[in-house]
């Protein structure tokens, strides 16, 4: 592929004229097609603090039933995965996924000195900081900043939403947020905005105005690239008609049409179940599981499951003991789900939560969430995790 084609193919030709400022340096990435093994990471955020104990239910532990008299899931309703833990009955759609070996559950993931504020704990998870450290960049953002061989495009990371999460913001690079590729394409290709960009070379400096133009050009070229690459693809799978499934459907369309994006970010909110948890969490888990199951099968059908890793997290788990309103309050450590076609260790990864050794009524964490990130960065995204996480974290062997 020659330089010109490369630029055209990746949408770097802005406003019809060929100009690429030196600091955008897209050219070293020439061999991308040869790299071809395009590994995708999909991050799924469950906002509000999902109650992990009613998600992966420790039905083999009496303490669970003692502490949750009104909201415990009855043993006969649990979808058993081993003789200690099983899934919430609303997650039936994932049983098949589990049985295929496409799912790993990591118990008790957390961090030292846990913070029980939604905002703060979400920040910690998104930035990968310590609990007393304030970072203004996200872990995926810093991965983009690292400018590795495969992460230098403005569309390397896409969040299927209207606005961009902190996780996706780096110092010099940021992911792109879009809900509807056609709408973003229309917006960026508005004739006025095109005229604004027409032949504008002098602004591409590294000052703030240059940064604005650079962002605008990248958005425009990314929008064109995404729209043009993905518009023809039609998924054959039938997704449930929920917002969450629609996000996954968009991701599947992007992955299956061969978009050279590496990280996708989607989220599902409403997990802050202080009151009457059973119905509310049940509905959400159902949406989550049904969407996820179709998504994974859709990828499988398109031969993309092997190249895809999905990771699900929430900002914290909830207290072991239920509250007086048939709900649960903010807690600490929580389980994480990993999905994909190339998992090394399938099913339940580590020991179930120890409900008799609590820290002020909350679970103690077994694994730091940054070990999970570190594993993904090292083994899936091929960057040295200490560069992104600011210190080295031991990796795990789920992939």
């Amino acid at each position: 592929m020659n330089r010109r084609n490369f630029l055209r193919n990746t949408g770097f030709v802005a406003a019809g004229s060929l100009f690429v400022p030196a600091f955008m340096k897209p050219l070293e990435a020439m061999a991308l097609d040869e790299l071809s093994l395009y590994k995708n990471l999909v991050v799924v955020q469950l906002s509000g603090g999902n109650d992990g104990l009613n998600t992966v239910v420790p039905f083999g532990n009496d303490i669970y039933y003692q502490k949750r008299k009104n909201i415990a899931i009855k043993p006969e309703d649990v979808i058993k995965l081993n003789d200690m833990q099983g899934l919430n009955p609303n997650m039936a759609a994932l049983q098949e996924i589990h049985d295929q070996g496409w799912m790993t559950i990591i118990n008790d993931v957390g961090y030292p000195n846990p913070d029980r504020s939604h905002f703060r704990s979400m920040d910690i998870w998104q930035t990968g900081s310590d609990s007393n450290q304030f970072l203004s960049t996200g872990w995926i953002g810093r991965y983009l900043d690292s400018n590795c061989q495969t992460c230098k495009f403005p569309y390397t990371a896409i969040e299927v939403d209207d606005s961009l999460s902190l996780a996706m913001k780096g110092q010099t690079k940021k992911g792109i947020a879009l809900k509807d590729p056609a709408a973003l394409f229309r917006n960026t290709n508005n004739p006025f905005f095109k005229a604004v960009l027409q032949g504008d070379k002098e602004h591409l400096d590294e000052d703030n105005l240059g940064y604005l133009y650079k962002t605008m050009i990248e958005t425009q070229s990314s929008a064109s690239y995404i729209q043009n690459t993905s518009k023809i693809y039609q998924s054959k799978a039938t997704y449930p008609n929920t917002g969450f499934s629609n996000q996954l459907k968009t991701v599947s369309k992007f992955i299956s049409s061969g978009l050279k994006t590496r990280v996708y970010y989607v989220s599902l909110s409403g997990f802050d179940t202080h009151v009457n948890q059973t119905t509310q969490q049940g509905n959400l888990l159902k949406q989550y599981s049904e969407g996820m199951a179709i998504f994974l099968k859709d990828l499988k059908a398109n031969n993309k499951l092997e190249d895809t890793l999905v990771v699900t997290f929430s900002e914290f788990g909830r207290r072991v003991e239920q509250n007086a309103s048939n709900g649960t309050d903010h807690g600490t450590a929580n389980n994480m789900f990993i999905f994909g076609g190339r998992l090394k260790k399938q099913g339940i990864f580590n020991a179930a939560p120890n409900l008799s050794d609590l820290d002020g009524g909350d679970l103690k964490y077994q694994l730091d969430f940054r070990q999970v990130y570190g594993t993904i960065l090292d083994k899936w995204l091929d960057v040295n995790n200490s560069e992104i996480l600011n210190k080295k974290f031991n990796t795990l062997d789920f992939i």
Binding site: P154, D200, L209, T215, M216, A324
Partner: protein, 480 residues
């Protein structure tokens, strides 16, 4: 100094010290010496214009009911309903408070005071579910924002919002909670590297007993205060919270930390350390008089240097307030202001964390930039940019797409954009000179220097209104 030069200086000053200025006011003030304009800005009367939206008595009554309800183990249905209702009302009032402040910024006759309040709002970043506490803290920042930094710091430290947010309510003798003590030094005064972990521990002990009572009033609870000796910054004494604050203010590093942050907010994201030093030594020598620091900054020659003019990325609130102020915008559904703050990443009273909004380039990503460039046309012109540039053949498809989207929108008989706002065009045009050209208007609306491309783009424009909509939709308008 030429009148033209003064014109641009005052425009820059009002853009940074306030939220912009009307053409007619600018013409008037340009006749004065800039130093005089600065001292007039600072000469604003002590404000009696605090925000009084949240009624203390009513909110106290709710709090009392609520704390009673939370203490109770089993609530009956009626109590549950009441609790939900109180939470709902608090959320409602919190939103009203937000809108009240935004409108105050849009309409204020004391722009510097509101701008300073906005600065301290980010510096002493805090979230409170209780709108009364949030209002109190906001008023403290307004009342003391240009006064003594020590008074401001003490008042903020004593505010229920902050005591609650940083857990000083739980900071008791024998069971210290270090959250407030840590942020006091790390984020509010000294910055990292100027104290030890031991200093934090001793400071936390000194602030034990700083609490608020059921009425939302500061109270020093002697019986919960650790009266023992503490060693802080190498000095030993039976310190209390105010002693600690005094010791922190004795360190010139505090003046430097604050001066640098103010410089980054008002002058340039990239601090020039010589200028920061100039400001911080003056600030320290003035015994932490904020107005002195601000005056020094706005009268410095370097404040008007080209590297500091039209080069800062406006924060979302500066952008929204500036636009609304400029064009006398009214929002028919004020809730949209909250939605826009949230989409653009600066939801007032809801900072991301105690470190506040990081600012600068972090305001801008692909989605926030595209939205920012869409907002002026949505606010001023129901989504239309009357642009009649020559389309190349490639554009035709897009234009067709847009047409059908517009046709669909029109078919829905929804004449206003979702932003649903009205600009007062006659009033705006009235502030302009009679024979102002589109180019002159452009020069007025944009802070960055005009380049050939923009000059060319507006040169064949006919109307002032279409020029204004186009110009405010450009990347250059994001800079102030």
């Amino acid at each position: 100094m030429s009148a033209k030069e003064n014109f641009f200086k005052v425009k820059h000053l009002y853009n940074r010290a306030g939220f912009g200025i009307s053409y007619s006011d600018l013409q008037k003030l340009s006749r004065k010496n800039v130093d005089k304009v600065v001292s007039d800005l600072l000469k604003e009367p002590k404000p009696n214009d605090l925000i009084t939206l949240v009624d203390g008595m009513e909110s106290k009554r709710q709090m009392l009911i609520q704390s009673g309800l939370y203490a109770k183990k089993d609530l009956n249905d009626e109590e549950k309903k009441m609790r939900q209702e109180i939470v709902r009302m608090q959320n409602e009032v919190s939103k009203d408070l937000n809108i009240t402040w935004v409108n105050k910024m849009i309409n204020t006759t004391s722009p510097l005071r509101e701008k300073m309040t906005l600065f301290w709002h980010g510096h002493f970043a805090c979230r409170s579910n209780d709108p009364l506490y949030a209002q109190q803290l906001n008023n403290i920042q307004r009342l003391h924002g240009l006064g003594s930094f020590k008074t401001l710091l003490v008042e903020v430290s004593k505010s229920p919002a902050m005591l609650q947010y940083l857990n000083n309510q739980q900071n008791r003798k024998g069971k210290p909670n270090e959250n407030f003590a840590r942020e006091l030094m790390e984020l509010f005064t000294l910055g990292r590297g100027n104290y030890t972990e031991h200093d934090i521990k001793e400071s936390a002990r000194s602030f034990t007993g700083w609490m608020y009572d059921k009425d939302g009033t500061f109270i020093f609870r002697q019986n919960l205060h650790d009266e023992g000796p503490k060693t802080f910054f190498g000095k030993t004494g039976n310190f209390d919270g105010e002693n600690i604050i005094d010791l922190i203010l004795e360190k010139p590093e505090t003046a430097t930390f604050i001066a640098r942050k103010i410089y980054k907010f008002f002058v340039n994201d990239q601090p020039n350390e010589d200028h920061v030093k100039e400001l911080s030594s003056h600030f320290y020598a003035s015994n932490y008089q904020i107005s002195e620091l601000v005056k020094k900054m706005f009268t410095a020659d370097w404040f008007y240097n080209s590297e500091n003019v039209g080069t800062k990325i406006k924060s979302p609130v500066e952008f929204l307030v500036g636009l609304s102020r400029e064009f006398y915008v009214t929002y028919n559904k004020p809730q949209i202001l909250i939605q826009l703050q949230s989409s653009l990443g600066q939801y007032l009273f809801n900072p991301p964390n105690v470190a506040g909004w990081p600012g600068g380039q972090s305001w801008i990503d692909s989605s926030s930039l595209m939205l920012r460039m869409r907002i002026p046309s949505l606010v001023l012109n129901d989504g239309e940019i009357d642009f009649s540039g020559k389309a190349d053949p490639e554009d035709e498809a897009v234009i067709a797409l847009n047409r059908s989207a517009t046709a669909n929108a029109n078919a829905k008989a929804k004449p206003k954009s979702y932003v649903n706002a009205n600009a007062d065009w006659p009033k705006f045009i009235d502030t302009l000179p009679k024979r102002i050209s589109p180019l002159e208007l452009t020069e007025f609306l944009l802070q960055p220097k005009l380049n050939d491309k923009i000059i060319k783009m507006v040169s064949d424009n006919k109307g002032l209104r279409s020029t204004a909509v186009e110009i405010t939709s450009m990347p250059e308008y994001q800079l102030g």
